[in-house]
């Protein structure tokens, strides 16, 4: 069975990745692909199609903000919804991420149902 929605999770913490996969499994037909840092995320998003990306900000190799900038620089990825999930709760961090092209900004610790609600809304499943 082919996936209805392909979601990329770019997060360096395996604990968070597992938690996000666990939460998103409730979306019928969704397939989650994991990337452990910004560079890994960029490789995956460049070589494959994704309907949405969840991106952490503080990551080794390449941070989430740089990844968002690079994604939005690609013509074919301009419309892909991006959700930032981060520990950074300051207003200026939120504004910076949204200005770079993120669609939503969620702070940790996360609520699984809030993540689901945001993803459903961005994928127009509501």
């Amino acid at each position: 069975m082919s996936a209805t929605h392909r979601i990329l999770i770019v997060e360096d913490s395996p604990t968070m990745r597992q938690l996000l996969v666990f939460a998103l499994k409730r979306l019928k037909g969704a397939e989650m692909v994991e990337a452990q840092d910004g560079m890994d995320g960029l490789r995956k998003v460049s070589s494959d199609h994704f309907d949405l990306a969840l991106i952490d900000i503080n990551m080794p190799v390449m941070d989430g903000l740089k990844l968002i900038r690079l994604i939005r620089g690609e013509d074919n990825l301009k419309e892909m919804p991006i959700v930032v999930i981060t520990t950074e709760g300051a207003k200026e961090d939120r504004e910076r991420a949204l200005a770079l092209g993120a669609n939503e900004y969620l702070t940790k610790p996360i609520q699984s149902n809030r993540v689901l609600q945001v993803v459903r809304s961005l994928l127009k499943l509501e």
Binding site: S13, P14, T15, M16, Q18, L19, T87, K108, P109, S112
Partner: protein, 272 residues
């Protein structure tokens, strides 16, 4: 017969058929009209009869009053049922929120437990503890202390928010951290935050059965987190047991690996 004549006869047949259908419809309308006229007449007679006869009039009035009463009862019952349904609806909505919250909590606890027992490498276990404290509890500044059994002092081995060297060594049994580890009781204070290394806002003792292993001391929460939730308390309990067991197992595994390598070295030396 020419084609024009055939077409003309065809149209005439068609017209006759429409005309017959029209005539039937008109007959049906007349019959219906007649039926309705009779009904009106009947009702007028009933009304006149009732108007002339007081007994009939009272009977009709009583029937109507009873009908009104019955309709009122039906209305009250329907309104009551509607109120009950609305209440049930609210209850279901509340229950749904509770179930969602429980689901979220269980997912967090499952993932934390799964990750803690996913490795036997001590540095990996400590890394996972740090991930859990940052991502699931939402702490900004904290330290993981281990007990040095020779000196009976707790020493910070990993930290977030401050360099690990900044955290002083604590004697077992003294201060908030030492007492918490010795007693096995989690300390939970004011979530507003603390700059005093000796006075954390949370201290989770790490113990395996009665054996103290170390502690997790939290000094400050992330700015978007303004207090502790029931899930945080569940996570404190989970960390107290599972992190301690994982650290203890990883240490034992590391020691047994070292011993095995030493013995293997001796065997190799003797057999070569």
């Amino acid at each position: 017969m020419s084609d024009d004549r055939k077409a003309l006869f065809g149209r005439a047949d068609e017209f006759m058929s429409i005309f017959k259908r029209g005539a039937e419809f008109s007959k049906e309308l007349i019959a219906e009209n007649e039926r309705l006229r009779r009904k009106v007449l009947e009702l007028e007679q009933q009304q006149n009869f009732a108007a002339r006869d007081d007994g009939e009039w009272d009977k009709l009035r009583t029937e109507l009053l009873m009908r009104i009463e019955s309709l009122e009862e039906e209305r009250s019952s329907a309104l009551e049922r509607l109120r009950q349904l609305e209440e049930e609806n609210h209850q279901f909505a509340r229950r749904y929120v509770e179930v969602e919250e429980e689901n979220n909590n269980l997912a967090n606890l499952y993932v934390a437990s799964f990750q803690l027992h996913s490795t036997l490498d001590l540095s990996e276990v400590v890394k996972i503890v740090i991930e859990i404290v940052i991502n699931l509890i939402g702490a900004e500044m904290f330290a993981v202390y281990m007990l040095d059994e020779k000196t009976n002092r707790l020493e910070a081995v990993a930290s977030e928010g401050e360099a690990v060297e900044s955290f002083p060594k604590m004697p077992l049994g003294s201060g908030i951290i030492g007492s918490s580890v010795e007693s096995g009781e989690t300390f939970c204070g004011d979530p507003a935050g603390s700059d005093d290394y000796l006075r954390p806002i949370v201290c989770i003792p790490l113990r395996v059965q009665e054996r103290p292993i170390g502690a997790i001391a939290v000094y400050r929460l992330l700015q978007q987190k303004d207090g502790f939730t029931p899930l945080d308390h569940e996570l404190f309990t989970l960390l107290a047991g599972h992190a301690a067991t994982s650290i203890f197992s990883a240490r034992l595994y590391s020691q047994s690996e070292r011993k095995r390598n030493t013995i293997q070295g001796f065997i190799d030396l003797l057999t070569k």
